[in-house]
């Protein structure tokens, strides 16, 4: 049951609350310009109740809790790639049991009314953790799974994952005579998650912060499993300039490489700038604008590799057409 009420985030109030609570502290060792840093702050901003944060292995986990330092002022647990969603389910089920057993009733130190958030990278979601997520969604646990998608295993040294797009240079799909970057396309993770029949699924770009915060809040308010696919620029792995992080996030939406939409009880609905692109197709930018800012696609701009850009554009157009049909445009 997805709530219909729309929360209107007020940036000034959010700043005041964050200033007092500081859910994510400075001094973590994410790279300069990392998109995941923005995503984890925005999740904490959208929270309405105390959070229990379950983190799969990935950049965020490695960078925020280098012993003896921690960046978290919320209860936080690190898990392996495989079991993050399973631990999230367990934390959620434990709450139900403790409430039913009246174990900590009247104890002022223990708050049992909390939301469970599971944060995983694309390696932990597309590839390794998929079965745990599938299980958690099938059991209908009230957890919010946020995937921050930086499109490769950035933490271990930029190996390709199921989320790496076509043509991207990674250390396991290098550009040479035999192959030119990854020869295959991205796995349709949203379709897989929507097929579980979950009440709420959405794509989020932190650059459109208003849209992102509304979706995170709606995810917390939904009674049941929630999947959120967040787009995260990686300056190191993508070969982009650190200051262009938010610009690339915006371009991904404007070129329809990463359209913004939400799926409420199986019904597709476009949000944010994707609505205006759907109504006015002239506003859709060519993918070159998105690709040219990133070093991992540089080989595509050589004259002999022009077909790669065309193939990429063809794939983007096909995905976008499918989405438009589903959303009823």
């Amino acid at each position: 049951m997805v709530t219909k009420a729309v929360w209107r985030p007020d940036i000034k109030e959010l700043a005041r609350i964050e200033g007092q609570k500081r859910p994510v502290e400075s001094g973590h060792r994410l790279c300069a310009g990392c998109g995941a840093g923005i995503i984890m702050r925005q999740i904490a901003m959208a929270a309405r109740k105390p959070l229990v944060w379950i983190n799969a292995t990935g950049c965020v986990e490695v960078a925020t809790t280098i012993f003896p330092y921690t960046s978290w002022n919320v209860p936080w647990a690190h898990n392996a790639f495989e079991n993050a969603a399973a631990v999230g389910s367990g934390v959620e089920a434990a709450r139900k049991k403790l409430v039913r057993a009246k174990r900590f009733e009247g104890d002022p130190d223990i708050e049992l009314d909390y939301d469970v958030i599971v944060l995983g990278g694309d390696g932990g979601t597309y590839d390794i953790g998929l079965q745990a997520i599938s299980g958690a969604f099938e059991r209908r646990h009230k957890i919010m799974y946020v995937l921050y998608d930086n499109e490769a295993y950035m933490n271990t040294g930029i190996q390709r994952s199921g989320g790496t797009p076509f043509g991207a240079r990674t250390t396991t799909t290098p550009v040479g005579k035999v192959i030119k970057g990854k020869p295959l396309f991205k796995k349709p993770i949203m379709d897989i998650m929507v097929a579980h029949g979950i009440p709420y699924a959405a794509t989020v770009s932190p650059a459109y912060w208003n849209d992102a915060l509304v979706k995170f809040r709606r995810g917390f308010e939904t009674e049941g499993p929630v999947f959120i696919h967040a787009f995260s620029t990686c300056p190191l792995g993508w070969g982009s300039a650190p200051e262009d992080t938010v610009k690339i996030m915006k371009l991904a939406v404007e070129t329809c490489v990463f359209p913004l939409y939400e799926v409420i009880e199986g019904e597709y609905r476009l949000t944010g700038p994707s609505v205006s692109i759907a109504k006015n197709p002239d506003r859709k930018k060519p993918v070159e604008e998105y690709l040219k800012l990133q070093g991992r696609f540089r080989h595509m701009f050589k004259p002999e590799n022009k077909w790669m850009i065309e193939k990429f554009q063809e794939w983007v157009d096909k995905q976008w057409e499918t989405l438009l049909r589903r959303a009823g445009y």
Binding site: A15, R16, E25, R29, A32, G37, A241, T245
Partner: protein, 91 residues
């Protein structure tokens, strides 16, 4: 004389980091750091919103203040500032 083995009940619950990362000065990484022109600033708060390092302190009213001890100098704030009030200066 061997020391008795430590039982599992005596071990700590998990590996718990105990210091806040704000004691780690990531500002040392920076080559450029932001400087805000107070006259150009319109107090929209986008620099605060887009900062990946929670560096900006903003009470919602005045000019946001960057905490240069932790700023890694990525420059997102300077690019996204709508009035170009932020300049990245070499430290």
């Amino acid at each position: 004389m061997s020391t008795p083995m430590v039982g599992w009940k005596d071990l700590p619950m998990a590996a718990v980091p105990f210091l806040s990362s704000k004691e780690y000065p990531t500002g040392e990484w920076a080559v450029f750091q932001p400087k805000i022109d107070e006259n150009k600033c319109v107090r929209c708060g986008l620099c605060w919103m887009y900062c990946p390092d929670s560096v900006y302190r903003w009470d919602g009213e005045g000019v946001p203040v960057p905490d240069l001890e932790h700023c890694k100098g990525c420059g997102i704030c300077a690019v996204e500032c709508p009035t170009k009030a932020i300049e990245m200066v070499r430290v």
